[in-house]
Amino acid sequence: MKIRLVEVAHARSGDKGDTANVGLIALKPEWYELLRRYVTREAVAAHFKGAITGDVTRYELPNLNALNFLLHGALDGGGTLSLKTDAQGKVFSTALLRMTIDVPEQELQTLGLDAARAAR
């Protein structure tokens, strides 16, 4: 069953040069494992395909129930060079929350995530 990340996580993003970072934080501690298993580096790279020009790096912060993603080549050069509305990557956070992950229904139920949360 597909579920959108906005149902299970919150996020904040920022910039370092031409790289945007997105910190993805589980809304409940017990949902961190879901993020860790399904929001892989590869899945995020596929999600942002066409929106960024570089690689994706992923770090795990189990202490904060969070993952940190670095999206390279995300900001049209970054800083003052960038012509983008979001030159500082402030809303790459919500762009990541658009992503859907495919999780077996049984697993969602175990985590208290019923069908109502499944992506429409």
Binding site: R12, F48, Y59, N63, N68, G77, L81, L83, T85, V91
Partner: protein, 456 residues
Amino acid sequence: MKNVVRVASGQGFWGDSLDAPRQQVAGGQIDYLMLDYLAEVTMSILQKQKERDASMGYARDFVGAVESVLPAVLERGVRVIANAGGVNPPACATAVRALTSSSNSDGLRIAVVTGDDLLGRVDELIDSGHALTNMDTGEPLASIRDRVLSANAYVGSTPIVEGLAKGANVVITGRSTDTALTMAPLRHEFGWGAHDWDLLAAGIIAGHIIECGAQCSGGNCLYDWRSIPDLANVGYPIAEASPDGTFVITKHDGTGGRVSVPSVTEQLVYEMGNPHEYITPDVIADFTTIRLEDAGPDRVRVFGIKGRPATDKLKVSIAYSAGFKAVGTLVYSWPDALEKAQAADRILRERLDRLGLRFDHVMTEFVGASATHGPLAYADLHDLEPSLPEVQLRVGVRGGVRKDVERFTREIAPLVLNGPPSVTGFAGGRPKVEEIVAYWPALIDKAVVATKVEIV
């Protein structure tokens, strides 16, 4: 030694709320007021101001901020630490001093930290083998030497601690790290040593949490955002630190906003790189060791932090001139707002081509449709598109030839009469041509940079 030291944040960037510093001293007991004014490109803006007028080159808002908290500094012993000095900390101190002499206050001791400014030393440094290679691209600084506008090393907490030890109640620095402004008073008060890595890392992380002002106390907080109360009266954050390196993030009673585990977590991940090594001049902090705990309403306890020895390098923030840019916008209305904006974009680009203008890059965004999430929004857009009430066409160009960018700015308004229909939103006039000041991050040996602390 105090058991608890309260460091309050009153400014998250130059341009942040003018009232926050005064609210932080008026709202309750604090020991230190920390004000962060400098972003990556701020230094080059200040450098230009200094070139026009040798008494400028600092964050002028700071003078008003000191004025607004002066009684607390002189009567209650609140000490102010700010990187407001920009590229001219002595001039900043002079301006603050002028303010106080007119109000008859001699209890002010201002410490001025200098030595971070490397602009006058760039040739000497390159000649002596410091390539100041761009950390992102690997290019040596020599490739853009003639376009360098400012160059400043990020310095750590040590000179601020020295200023506090000399009895300063206002410390003005140039390009200190944002986090040092919070960590330095903790080092000073608790006598933390320069090799107490875990304690220094804790101070740095306290600094990281409060350096963006209200962004950790309910501002820009996505978690349960509708329920965050009274943002019009948002409370800026306070770190209540203990000698053992644990601290509580809180805010004054009676203020709006919210300090919670989610609000603090969002700020912790903001602008994060590799969480295992948050590198500062003082220490390498490990964000994967941070523990957060709900400690009551608007109180979050932070503990468990580990640090490692600092490197022998400092980061250098170099700004250089990198051409010109301009961004023009027009608004197209329903029906078929996006389609009209797309047609206008095609026409505009064809005209730019015919004029033979040279740009490094032309970028189009459709605000209201796909500007912020780009192609990720297309799937949702497909259903919404026919009903969009309006779409803003936003076209930006950048390049090295000023007159070509100027000419671009003349090509927007004509579209109102000679392009697709149902267009408005041009009242702002022609777009402005901006000189691009770009950022060049580099590293330099610590031994090369000597800071100086003077009481004035």
